[in-house]
Amino acid sequence: MTRRQALGDLRHFIAHALVDFGTYQDAISDREPLLYHSRLAAAMNIGLLSPQEVCEAVETAWQAGRAPINAAEGFIRQILGWREYVRGIYWQRMPGYKQENRLNARRGLPAFYWHGDTDLRCLQRAIEMTRDNAYAHHIQRLMVTGNFALLCGVSPAALCDWYLAVYADAFEWVELPNTLGMTLYADGGYLGSKPYCASGKYIDRMSDHCRHCRYDVKQVTGDDACPFNSLYWHFLERHRERLKGNQRMKLIYGSWDKMAQSRREAILTQANAFLDRLDTEPPYGRGEHAEGYRRH
């Protein structure tokens, strides 16, 4: 990998993908790993491209009328906004940040994260694409593998080590705040004002996975029900004390409370049965790195 190749990737992105990047930045495809994403993070994170030259190239394309403002703004927000912001947070809050686990999540990593052998289609495809490309785009990371881990209560150490290992662009300054803070809400809402938890409905809206899946995304209980649905309510019920006061969560707790008690019980039983069957592995990080997750 050279700077020349990275500059070629940048030119290609500007010429062919940027124009549609904004509109489809949150879409998920069952067959296409990259969509209109640039995949420039790895080159930027190892220093082959500077964030300045990347942002300026995008701004220039917009000025020349070759990209709409929603694409240019959406992209520059990721670099000038999120990327710089998580780095700032990392260096202001370490070493304590890595020890945060405010939702008290203790589960190991689902074993299928290592091979993608699962019948949940969205997870299977996100993990297969990760295995094949050392890459997944941000919505796959946040709303598929990340959201599932959040709902199941996977520990920050277990999930963070996986993200650090499997993505070519992952270095701790950028991986840790994104995984522990943004994805797992383990920093108690320092980064995001509410957890990015979602049921199967979100995945069905943004992707074409569900039509290929053996589960029915419209069902919450029963053998064919999409596991995301009952896990979603299980998560909310588990963390009611912490989250019920959050203005942005009020509506959703309202819907939960309006359900008949027998319905709520059936949903929680469904989720518990799924979690009991879930095969997991303990965190595997080593040495000082692994020690960094523990409180002293």
Binding site: A27, P51, R286
Partner: protein, 224 residues
């Protein structure tokens, strides 16, 4: 005047780093492949390949520009396989009494370097829009430190997508336009493919041993 050793880490492959632009003519540049950095988590084989390839190319680029470079390969017999110990070994060997390094991207290394003593000198990483200190100043005294506020501050400061002090397009945020779901009619561009190149033909035995596929890595890491 003493001769410094300048350690370049695997994610610092930028010719614009202060530590390089301010390097005296006789400085020794060190890039080191060490097993410790590849093993604290079992990295994806493609990540390891990318890093080693990029490091080897970058060392060649620096040599072409006239820098004196020591490159420690994974299978060098005398490699200490730890970034800091390897740099200290090279400093002895090349009679360098100062080791300069750009602020690393990881707390673990940053802390170890700070504990290492006065021979080590940290340089700020100048490759970001916002330095660590400038971020601290932005945070100071704020009750909430939301990304959106920081982002607007940075837009104003850099002038990116700004028109006479106002955000281009009349608003800061276009998230509302950016939530279209997947559509079967979409046509996606094919990204450029990069072929594997000469420096990777010197592929070390260590990486073959530790990385074949993600599932093999997981098995290796848990000892099952």
């Amino acid at each position: 005047m003493s001769r410094p050793l300048i350690l370049i880490l695997g994610d610092q492959l930028s010719e614009t780093l202060d530590v390089l632009t301010e390097a005296p003519d006789d400085a020794l540049i060190a890039l080191s492949e060490v097993s410790a950095e590849g093993q604290y988590v079992p990295h994806h084989p493609q990540k390891i390949v990318m890093l080693l390839s990029a490091m080897r190319h970058f060392a060649d680029t620096l040599r072409d520009k006239g820098y004196q470079v020591h490159y420690s390969a994974l299978d060098d017999d005398d490699n200490r396989h730890d970034l800091l110990e390897e740099a200290e070994r090279l400093a002895e060997a090349y009679a360098c009494d100062e080791i300069r390094v750009t602020h690393p991207g990881e707390w673990r290394l940053f802390e170890r370097i700070q504990r290492r003593g006065t021979r080590w000198r940290l340089y700020p990483d100048n490759r970001f829009y916002c330095s660590i200190d400038a971020f601290g100043e932005w945070m100071a005294g704020r009750k909430r430190c939301r990304m959106e506020d920081f982002y607007r501050h940075m837009r104003k400061q850099t002038g990116l997508l700004m028109c006479e002090g106002e955000p281009a397009g009349g608003q800061w945020n276009f998230d509302h336009d950016n939530r279209a779901p997947i559509d079967q009619g979409l046509d996606f561009p094919t990204p450029p493919r990069h072929r594997m190149d000469a420096p990777l033909k010197r592929w070390p035995s260590w990486s073959r041993r530790t990385s074949v596929s993600i599932s093999a890595l997981s098995t290796a890491s848990t000892g099952r």
